[in-house]
Symmetry: C2
Subunit: 123 residues, 2 copies
């Protein structure tokens, strides 16, 4: 099943990938259609094996749905995403829950700026 190839790519990637990146990667090994990639991806997301994140660029990024809570620092120059595990939002969530009664189940957080590499190159 081609699903395994797709899931493997996601499992072995240190950062989140677009459907096209996954397609390109899997294509090196087997014949596959882009729509199959999308279909499989949606499948994996439904099964909670993969997490889909929509970034400000309106493209979906897929990553392994591990429990480890991560967010990304996205460089506006090179567009690379650097994961970070610093996230104290749980505190804010509790506060919001307490003060508004809104039952928060998840959140998305995205930092934008310039990465050290690009900062260096700019000079």
């Amino acid at each position: 099943m081609k699903k395994d190839y797709i899931f493997d790519v996601i499992k072995n990637s240190p950062n989140s990938l677009t459907a096209e990146e996954i397609y390109n990667n899997v294509s090196q090994n087997i014949n596959i259609n882009l729509s199959t990639v999308y279909r499989t991806l949606n499948n994996l997301v439904d099964k909670d094996l993969v997490t889909k994140i929509v970034r400000q660029d309106k493209i979906s990024y897929y990553e392994l749905a591990d429990n480890e809570h991560k967010h990304y620092l996205i460089c506006d120059k090179c567009n690379q995403a650097y994961p970070t595990d610093m996230c104290d939002i749980e505190k804010i969530e509790r506060k919001i829950k307490r003060e508004t009664g809104f039952n928060i189940t998840s959140h998305t957080l995205e930092f934008h700026g310039i990465c050290p590499e690009c900062l260096k190159n700019a000079k």
Copy 2:
């Protein structure tokens, strides 16, 4: 100029609006084309008068670019967005800047869950 009509709608709205919502609103008063709305919106965003936010639903939401830092609680049931000003992310940003050298200039944060209203109706 039709720009004024568009900007007025945004100024007078308590929450962020989609291009289509703005179009519908402005259409009640004058003749206007949807592409004009989009063009004007991009213009206002370029001039930093309006802020554009891409949500997980991949639709762009526009709001007045005031300095007041806001984030939204988005109900997965009714899809309404409730603004909140609780945001202690600045601390996290400083920490990241210090520890990674990444020069953060902005961030987007989106909470998902069920609003009190929908919670009540579900029972």
